[in-house]
């Protein structure tokens, strides 16, 4: 009687359905699309002018143009990939649609992959225009980084997904009471992962924590390119290795939290 195709394993059709769902949401709501571009632009303008001011008063910064704007753009890749991932999930809580999804054949792995895809789409919409805006305004062409940019990008996006996964696991377990984490958790990392300054600036006791974050290697690698014009393969290799570890741990934590939510019955009580 059923009009569906035979049940199988992982379904790209269902992943596509979820991506389509989020695409509809973006295309139906222009304020959401504008919001994607708004904050990266405001941030870039602020830090761009800070950099201009500092460069006028410091030969070091004058010779290492783009340290602030580059740090900001890469930070935004990290932040937006996490937020794009977690906010897409929050949309289901806000619209009280999670029950429909959890009672559909959508598998957690398919849900996760769809959130990854939509986070990249949101990232592209928000960041690409801003990177081009930085060229005439502040003379910083992030695309000029070439292959290292792709390596930085991949590492930061994976790190954003890892944190996003843990956040949605907590949301599943704790409900909307944990919503603030989706907005704020990444900012806890900001001072430790050394976006705008070298790890050596941190107190010695904090430095091991910084080096435990895959993102720290990316920001150090960016500074190496801008200051000494060298691409540190060792830093990027470590970043990839740590990302693999962090992502695996995040998947494990997510599934543990999902199982805990099923045991606690909290999947039926999503709300305040």
């Amino acid at each position: 009687m059923s009009a569906t195709r035979g049940a199988g394993g992982f379904s790209f059709t269902r992943v596509g359905a979820m991506v389509l769902r989020y695409w509809y949401l973006l295309s139906n709501s222009w304020p959401r699309a504008v919001e994607l571009i708004y904050w990266p632009t405001v941030q870039m303008l602020t830090w761009g002018f800070v950099q201009l001011y500092v460069a006028q008063n410091s030969s070091f910064f004058a010779n290492a143009a783009g340290l602030f704007v580059g740090g900001l753009l890469l930070w935004d890749v990290l932040l937006r990939s996490q937020q794009g991932f977690a906010f897409a999930f929050l949309e289901e809580l806000w619209s009280r649609n999670l029950g429909n999804l959890l009672m559909s054949p959508l598998k957690p792995s398919e849900f996760i992959v769809s959130l990854m895809v939509i986070s990249i789409i949101r990232l592209a919409i928000g960041m690409i225009p801003v990177t081009f805006l930085a060229i005439p305004l502040f003379g910083f062409n992030v695309w000029g980084l070439g292959l290292p940019l792709a390596v930085f990008f991949v590492n930061l996006v994976i790190a954003g997904w890892s944190i996003g996964l843990v956040i949605i696991g907590i949301l599943l377990r704790q409900g909307m009471g944990a919503e603030a984490l989706a907005w704020s958790l990444m900012f806890l990392l900001m001072p430790i992962t050394c976006v705008y300054y070298p790890v050596a600036t941190l107190p010695a006791i904090v430095q091991p924590i910084a080096w435990a974050l895959p993102t720290t290697y990316v920001f150090e690698g960016m500074r190496a390119i801008l200051v000494t014009h060298t691409f540190r393969i060792d830093l990027m290799a470590t970043a990839f290795a740590m990302n693999a570890l962090w992502f695996t741990a995040a998947v494990f934590v997510f599934y543990r939290l999902l199982a805990a939510a099923r045991r606690a019955g909290s999947l039926l009580q999503q709300g305040e």
Partner: protein
Amino acid sequence: MPAAPAHEPRFAIEVRDLVKRFGAVAAVDGISFEVARGTVTGLLGGNGAGKTTTIGMLMGLILPDAGTIRILGHDMPGERAVLLERMNFESPYVDMPHRLTVRQNLTVFGRLYRVENLKARIAELVEDFDLAAFVDRKAGQLSAGQKTRVALAKALLNSPEVLLLDEPTASLDPDTADWVRGRLETYRAATGATILLASHNMPEVERLCDDVVILRRGRIEDRGSPSDLLRRYGRDTLEEVFLDVARGTRAEGAEPAAAQREEVEP
């Protein structure tokens, strides 16, 4: 109603000794029941009786502490992924995404259920549920009655063999509620689907249900067909029976409550 094929189990839903505790509270306390294929079974009970928890476990959203659930012969939640393509669910307490149009919502859910010939299926449901006037309107702009019709259309997208409904006519005006009941009767008659219906609306249960399971404090307090319950409790309406069960009172001359039956004839 259509007979079950020889290779299919007789019961669409089989629940055995199901237990779910939240801390010290037993939300579901060792219930067992079956739902024969092609029947409509009402799940009744006051607030906190365990209806929603039971439905949550039937959909695999809540893990039981003990007991087994078999749906269409498959273990739930063990074979959840296979089962959910053959089931569906509707509740007024779960919304469709507000900012998507009705058509976009049906398209997304149709793809999630991997419905074949989706455009034709959506066109069929738009006609059946009279959605044409607002199919390109955002779901958040619909009235309660329109939302219910859309939610039911979504619930029938994959032509489910087992349909779970949680108070499907709550907050609807009598005319719309009657229309919804009519659609459910038509769907069941046309497809032989099995329906489990949690409801507080006793006339609705009397009209739709072949069998009724009454829960109280996580246990099955009584069960039987609506006519059987009316006869045994010596009452004229199911609402009076419900009140007798909820308050532990009985009409004079009423028969003692039946013990939990092992199974019910379809």
